[in-house]
């Protein structure tokens, strides 16, 4: 049974809160901004109704009943009017809108926090494929959104149009995923509604107007991927530049919150360091395995090095092929084996070191592994799982080619 005590409360600033399952660190939360409220689902928990922070109760009435049910909508209204608190009586079955909203929020989460890693073997989700599915889901959730949410959907559609032609071909191939037709129809409808037009969208329309004559050839899903330069993984081998005696080495902390997606391989052991003795001096070298994004010139990550709990030293890192590297001289007493902590961050982006998140990161990896497993065999699991995202199906297929 869901918890039922005082699930609805009113805060001092007048916002009404609907309690939900507690969420962990930022990278385990799927959030969605809707008309008059922010909804939050824990990515790692069981799926269900989200927590809500409602700042405009009047606006939120446009969808509250359709997500939380009529009784909760009325209770929110009562709490906003001054009833101290109320219980939550969720609908027995999640509504279609609640399910679509959860999926949209999870998709936005995946676009930012998917643990892409060469070391761990998590292929990237193709941003254009995921972006178009999110545009479709945004349209599906139109009842929830205000104007800025709607604009975000239109922007997603425009930004990721590059994936449209490959998706049309996928639909015409031998065994398209079951939700693909619906995604494409939603995109067509969304474009029609917002007045977007263009050659790819016209090709979509005429493809949808014709009866689908499935071709005998399956789609080569590699077509969905934008080619990127591949590097042979060289970390930890040829990059050693110092020639001194190794006095200590270890792994640093790979806190995903401290740099944008695409910069660093998400594996726990992507950050490593080695300390050397060079005569009387001490030097540290930091190596960070890079992710797929190709940063533009001049953008530099830095390593944050703490020796014996000292204030952090910044070591600028330069990108070379698939590794970020940097080194600095350290002021360490020669006699001791130092305790060294190393983190990696993007200056200006870094919100500061967070709480230890290793267990949560491991749980996210387990989630990604599970989802890719489902995506690799979508037809085996008919009904048992919600459909994987198209980008996950494509990623799982390419993973098999590794």
């Amino acid at each position: 049974m869901p918890e039922r005590r005082d699930a609805l409360t009113r805060a001092e600033d007048g916002t009404v809160h609907i309690a939900g399952p507690s969420a962990g660190p930022a990278f385990t939360r799927a959030v969605l901004e809707v008309a008059g409220a922010v909804l939050t689902w824990p990515v790692l928990g069981p799926t269900g109704l989200p927590a809500a922070e409602i700042h405009d109760v009047g606006q939120a009435q446009q969808w509250l009943w359709a997500v939380y049910g009529e009784r909760t909508a009325a209770a929110v209204d009562a709490v906003a009017q001054g009833t101290p608190a109320a219980e939550l009586t969720p609908p027995e079955q999640p509504t279609a809108l609640a399910e679509a909203a959860a999926r949209l929020a999870l998709g936005h989460w995946a676009a930012r926090w998917w643990p892409t890693s060469h070391l761990d073997g998590f292929p990237a989700l193709e941003p254009d494929v995921l972006g178009l599915e999110l545009a479709a889901l945004t349209h599906e959730c139109q009842q929830l959104l205000d104007e800025s949410g709607e604009l975000e959907g239109a922007a997603l559609l425009e930004e990721h149009l590059a994936a449209l032609d490959p998706l049309i071909r996928w639909r015409q191939s031998a065994a398209p995923p079951r939700q693909l037709d619906r995604v494409l129809r939603l995109i067509d409808d969304a474009a029609d509604n917002t007045g977007l037009d263009g050659e790819a969208l016209r090709r979509l329309r005429s493809a949808l107007e014709q009866d689908r004559t499935p071709s005998a050839t399956p789609m080569d899903l590699a077509e969905l991927r934008v080619p990127r330069q591949e590097f042979a993984l060289a970390a930890g081998s040829s990059l050693r530049t110092a020639t001194g005696r190794v006095i200590a080495r270890g792994s640093g902390t790979n806190d995903w919150c401290r740099y944008p997606p695409g910069f660093v391989d998400a594996a726990e052991n992507a950050v490593s360091w080695t300390a050397y003795a060079l005569g009387a001096g001490r030097r540290i070298e930091v190596e960070v395995v890079a992710d797929i994004a190709a940063p533009v010139g001049g953008v530099r990550l830095v390593a944050e090095v703490r020796v014996e709990g000292s204030p952090p030293n910044r070591v600028p890192l330069a990108r070379r092929d698939d590794v970020w590297t940097g080194r600095a001289d350290l002021d360490i007493p020669a006699s001791t084996t130092p305790s060294i902590e190393v983190g990696v961050l993007l200056p200006g982006f870094d919100p500061g070191p967070g709480a230890e998140g290793g267990a949560a990161r491991e749980a996210v990896r387990a989630l990604a592994r599970h989802r890719l497993g489902v995506a690799a065999a979508p037809h085996d699991s008919e009904g048992a799982h919600p459909d994987p995202f198209l980008a996950e199906i494509a990623a799982a297929a390419v993973e098999e080619d590794f």
Binding site: A26, Q61, G348
Partner: protein, 437 residues
């Protein structure tokens, strides 16, 4: 919810007005069902969020009775969209542009019959052409004439020299009282009307125009003009003959051309504006008026906005004494929500200045002086109202504008973070061309 189930009861007829799940589109409800069918002004009992059984039945019946006209509206909408595509029109949201027109067409003609194509074309051309020559191009042409520019320049000098002297000290204190009454439903703030009567907005404008008064906002660390000018006191406006959205100066430093350029760019209903020569003529006097605005209620809203802006706390640093009204609590709690959404979407900027942070650090710096962006946007919005003679009659409508600006500033910030992050890792994409003239 009653609307939803009644709508579904209509069957597939009005499909073009429905969303993917079969519910009416949000805009169908806002632009057609509520204003044209339910008409709460005539039936206030149907305006509430929660209806009793009898009212619900009444609403349900209203929608069902309108089934035929809604179906015809949907057919007209589908026809207009098809015609629009054929004509290659892409500007604007078709629902916003055509929903009401489609309902009118459906009421007048029923479903589209023979000759409907011609009607559709006429409607589309009518909507496209609605600007009536009130365009940036026309403004440019009007101000290209050297003799006219010289005359306007002389008029600006005369108007600038004829400004009234400063009568006395500025007191923005009453603004706090108005702001404290904001946001609560039905709350009225007589202090707003009192400020308008006493000319508090003009007072501030004249003081800023004449000197660099100390301690206007009860905060020593902000300039009295809050970034409305880059100078100690604003200079006399120039006529100008070009503008670019990317490089617009501070509001009170803008040329006549730049001020009107913004109005002509942003206006959804340009046909309701004065003609271009009339716009220019009035802008001469307006640009020399206190705060660059004619209407006192709009000037007072600048005072309210300033008071609100100096208490903005986007970084959640803790409330300063300046930020203690109900309005501040609402706006700052929105910033707090925004920060948590941005963390969850991996779109952060460092809370502390970071010299290595490049463009992200510039964004973080802007969050430390949030009043500048706020006042800039507020002024543009108030100026747009002034040009249309749209005064703000009471505290509630002023709050609507103040709150809307606060949201826009936040959305701007997010858009800039998104752009900055994208620019970090993408090969420089051809950015959207900045609009200019």
């Amino acid at each position: 919810m009653v609307i939803d189930s009644a709508w579904r009861g209509l069957g597939p007829g009005p499909r073009a007005l429905s969303g993917p799940g079969g519910a009416p589109l949000t805009r169908t409800v806002k632009l057609i069902v509520l204003p044209l069918i339910v008409r709460p002004a005539l039936r206030p009992e149907l305006a509430a969020d929660f209806l009793d059984a009898r009212e619900a039945e009444q609403l349900d019946a209203l929608i069902r009775e309108s089934g035929a006209v809604l179906e015809a509206t949907a057919q007209w909408f589908a026809l207009l969209k098809r015609t629009r595509r054929a004509l290659g029109i892409v500007a604007g949201n078709p629902q916003d542009l055509y929903f009401q027109r489609c309902f009118e067409l459906a009421t007048e003609h029923g479903a589209p019959g023979s000759g409907a194509d011609a009607v559709a074309r006429a409607v589309l051309e009518d909507v496209v052409d609605a600007s009536g020559g009130r365009t940036v191009e026309a403004l440019k042409e009007h101000l290209a004439d050297a003799a006219r520019r010289a005359r306007l320049d002389a008029e600006l000098t005369a108007a600038w020299d004829g400004r009234e002297a400063v009568p006395g000290a500025v007191d923005t204190g009453p603004a706090a009282e108005v702001l404290d009454a904001c946001g609560a439903a039905g709350a009225d703030a007589p202090a707003f009307a009192a400020m308008v009567r006493a000319g508090h907005g003009s007072l501030l404008g004249r003081a800023l125009g004449a000197a660099h008064p100390a301690d206007v906002w009860d905060r020593a660390d902000v300039p009295p003009h809050l970034g409305l000018t880059a100078h100690r006191v604003p200079p006399r406006p120039e006529v100008g003959r070009s503008a670019s959205t990317a490089t617009l100066p501070a509001p009170l430093d803008r040329t006549l051309f730049e001020r009107l350029f913004t109005v002509l760019q942003a206006s959804p209903h340009r046909e309701r504006l004065p003609t271009v020569p009339e716009l220019v003529r009035r802008e001469v006097g307006r640009s020399c008026a206190p705060l660059g605005l004619y209407d006192e209620s709009l000037r007072v809203t600048v005072v309210l906005g300033g008071r609100l802006a100096v208490g903005l706390d986007p970084l959640g640093a803790g409330t300063s004494a300046a930020g203690s009204t109900a309005a501040h609590r609402i706006v700052n709690s929105r910033w707090r929500r925004e920060a948590s959404v941005l963390r969850a979407r991996r779109m952060t900027v460092s809370p502390r200045p970071d010299p290595d942070g490049g463009v992200l650090n510039a964004l973080a710096q802007d969050l430390r002086t949030p009043w500048a962006a706020y006042m800039r946007r507020l002024w543009v919005r108030l100026h747009g109202r002034d040009v249309r003679d749209a005064a703000l009659p009471d505290a509630a409508s002023a709050w609507g504008v103040l709150d809307g600006v606060a949201r826009s500033v936040m959305m701007d910030h997010r858009a800039r973070v998104r752009t900055a992050l994208r620019a970090l890792s993408a090969a420089a994409e051809p950015a959207a061309e900045p609009r200019s003239a």
